[in-house]
């Protein structure tokens, strides 16, 4: 479905992504794991096209020069030069790191912004779906998003991404700063999204353990390069992975 080949990103002279090739098939959950500065967010930005925006902004402000090379195909089409807005329209929807909600707007408004591209019927349908997926949101549709707890905010963020009718959902560190209980709730919800629809999901996380049970295929990034990849079972049996990303020896 989404396939990146030889993706390279330079921030000025620093190599942030080094020859990364990843692919995500239909209705698959792909995990991307790595420590801070491994290149997870850069990868997510490159896939969703936000990187083109950042590059343009930096160029205008005379800041860092960002170089982006490689091939990126989505459903067989080359999307390397596609604008982020067009990519969202095509179905690649990013749920950004640190949630980036519209803090001064209510939960309902946040969700409606997400459904801007959808038709009215589609939006109503996805709204119902988000509400059944996260029943906790039903009671707080009028509250301001900025004053919700971290977990609730993350629910709104995922809900907002779902409202945009994604074909592939990019979740960038959805579990950041959440309690184990909340992590489990969210992960169950992500699994449900995959089971109940035909959406593919790419999820990035630092600590693999809570996410690992639901992924079909995973990549492990180190210093911008994919050092290991494989199905869940293959990686589970690998002693290096175990010690580094699960805290088990």
């Amino acid at each position: 479905m989404l396939e990146a080949t030889d993706l390279m990103v330079f921030y000025e002279n620093m190599l942030a992504l080094n020859n990364i090739s990843i692919s995500c098939r239909d209705n698959q959950i792909v995990g991307v794991f790595g420590a801070n500065s491994a290149g997870k967010s850069t990868l997510m930005y490159s896939l969703s096209g936000i990187m083109l925006d950042i590059r343009k902004k930096e160029k205008m402000a005379g800041g860092e020069r960002i170089t982006l090379t490689g091939q990126l195909t989505f459903q067989g089409k080359d999307i390397m030069d596609m604008k982020p807005s067009d990519r969202a329209r095509a179905g690649i929807v990013l749920c950004p790191e640190r949630r980036r909600l519209f803090k001064e707007s209510s939960v309902m408004e946040n969700l409606r912004i997400g459904g801007y591209l959808a038709t009215k019927a589609q939006a109503r349908e996805s709204l119902d779906y988000v509400m059944t997926l996260f029943p906790a949101l039903q009671k707080m549709t009028k509250r301001l998003a900025g004053f919700l707890s971290g977990g609730e905010q993350q629910m709104v963020a995922i809900g907002r991404a779902l409202m945009a009718q994604p074909k592939i959902l990019l979740l960038d560190e959805p579990l950041m700063g959440l309690s184990p209980l909340m992590q489990a709730t969210l992960i169950r919800a992500v699994k449900k999204i995959q089971e109940q629809s035909d959406i593919s999901i790419i999820v990035s996380e630092q600590y693999a353990r809570p996410v690992f049970p639901i992924v079909d295929y995973a990549y492990i990034l180190e210093n911008g390069a994919a050092v290991m990849e494989g199905t869940r079972e293959e990686l589970m049996d690998n002693p290096d992975v175990k010690s580094a990303y699960f805290g088990m020896s």
Partner: protein
């Protein structure tokens, strides 16, 4: 895009590392790297009065320096303290009127009125801006934009200090030579003084207030005090410039509260490079003479002016200074990926 196999990389020349602190003393070359750009600025500014043909352009140099002082005070407040202050005209007008009053009504010589206008004007401006200090961003900008209008209307309505005619019969500088070198000297002192100030502990707090005032408050620092301090420094600079302006024109009137003094320094800061402190000076050196040259076009002057500004914001929003600095410190070359 995908066929791209080359990219442009930037390599540091190492000038900054080699010429910082004690390392600069290693060789003459290192010292030259450090001193030459600054020397060029100082020598250039000091030579300007000699290079100008005729009285008219020498006067323009003084005006450039006045605008430059207001511009660096704006740059300091906006990019080192985080207070976007559109009140350049407020500072100029206050300083100008204080100098005018003390000179014309009390007979004080310019040697006394200029420092007095700086201190008293700075205190007055700070006092009036004190209630607005908790405001941030555009709200502070609007309030500071209102003050010059407010002052001008008060003087007009109550007919005080000469009303619409302004204060006449103010002493001028002893000679054109003294006038130019005084403002050039003051400008240089302020540029290098402020550059020093922003690297001290106090400057560190100013920058921190801009970045995250809650964190600064959490460190047990009274941010209102530091903001007031910064406003006092900036407004004292502006008032001093205003006092010089009064003595140059031998007149102070409500046109010193005109919007020009608020807008042009900002334009100069954008063109010269925001947050560099030297940039605004260079911006003024370009903008003020350009504006004088465009005088023949009458009202269309503003159109040319606005076009230049928009072009700069669109294509070089980091400004001349940041661009020049990068060219000085880095080289660019193509490499294979």
């Amino acid at each position: 895009m995908s066929s791209q196999t080359r990219r442009k990389e930037r390599i540091d020349r190492g000038i900054k590392v080699r010429s910082e602190g004690l390392y600069a003393l290693m060789s003459w070359r290192e010292m030259a790297y450090l001193i030459l750009p600054r020397f060029m600025l100082i020598a250039g500014l000091l030579c300007l009065p000699f290079l100008m043909p005729g009285m008219y352009w020498q006067r323009v140099i003084s005006i450039v320096c006045i605008y430059a002082i207001v511009a660096i005070s704006f740059d300091f407040l906006a990019h080192y303290v985080g207070l976007v202050c559109l009140g350049g005209a407020f500072f100029i007008g206050t300083g100008g009127y204080i100098a005018g009053i003390f000179n014309a009504y009390f007979g004080m010589p310019p040697v006394l009125t200029i420092p007095l206008a700086a201190i008293a004007g700075g205190a007055f401006c700070t006092l009036l801006l004190l209630p607005c200090l908790p405001l941030r961003g555009v709200y502070f900008a609007i309030v500071t934009l209102m003050y010059p209008l407010f002052m001008a209307r008060i003087i007009e309505a109550f007919d005080i200090f000469g009303g619409t005619d302004g204060i006449l019969g103010i002493d001028s500088f002893p000679s054109a030579f003294v006038e130019q070198y005084f403002v050039v000297g003051i400008l240089l002192v302020f540029v290098f003084g402020l550059r020093r100030l922003v690297t001290t502990d106090m400057g560190l707090i100013f920058t921190a207030v801009m970045d995250n005032d809650q964190a600064v408050r959490a460190s047990g620092i009274n941010i209102t005090y530091y903001k007031a301090m910064a406003v006092f420094i900036a407004s004292a600079m502006g008032c001093l410039a205003g006092a010089c302006l009064t003595h140059i024109y031998m007149w102070s009137g409500i046109s010193q509260f005109a919007l020009d003094f608020s807008i042009l320094p900002i334009a100069a800061t954008v063109i010269g490079g925001a947050g560099t402190l030297v940039g605004p000076v260079i911006g003024c050196l370009i903008l003020v003479p350009v504006s004088e040259l465009l005088r023949d076009f009458g009202t269309l002057r503003i159109v040319f002016y606005a076009t230049i500004l928009v072009a700069f914001i669109l294509f070089r929003s980091d400004g001349i200074m940041a661009f020049a600095k990068r060219k000085y410190e880095q080289i660019e070359r193509w490499t294979q990926i």
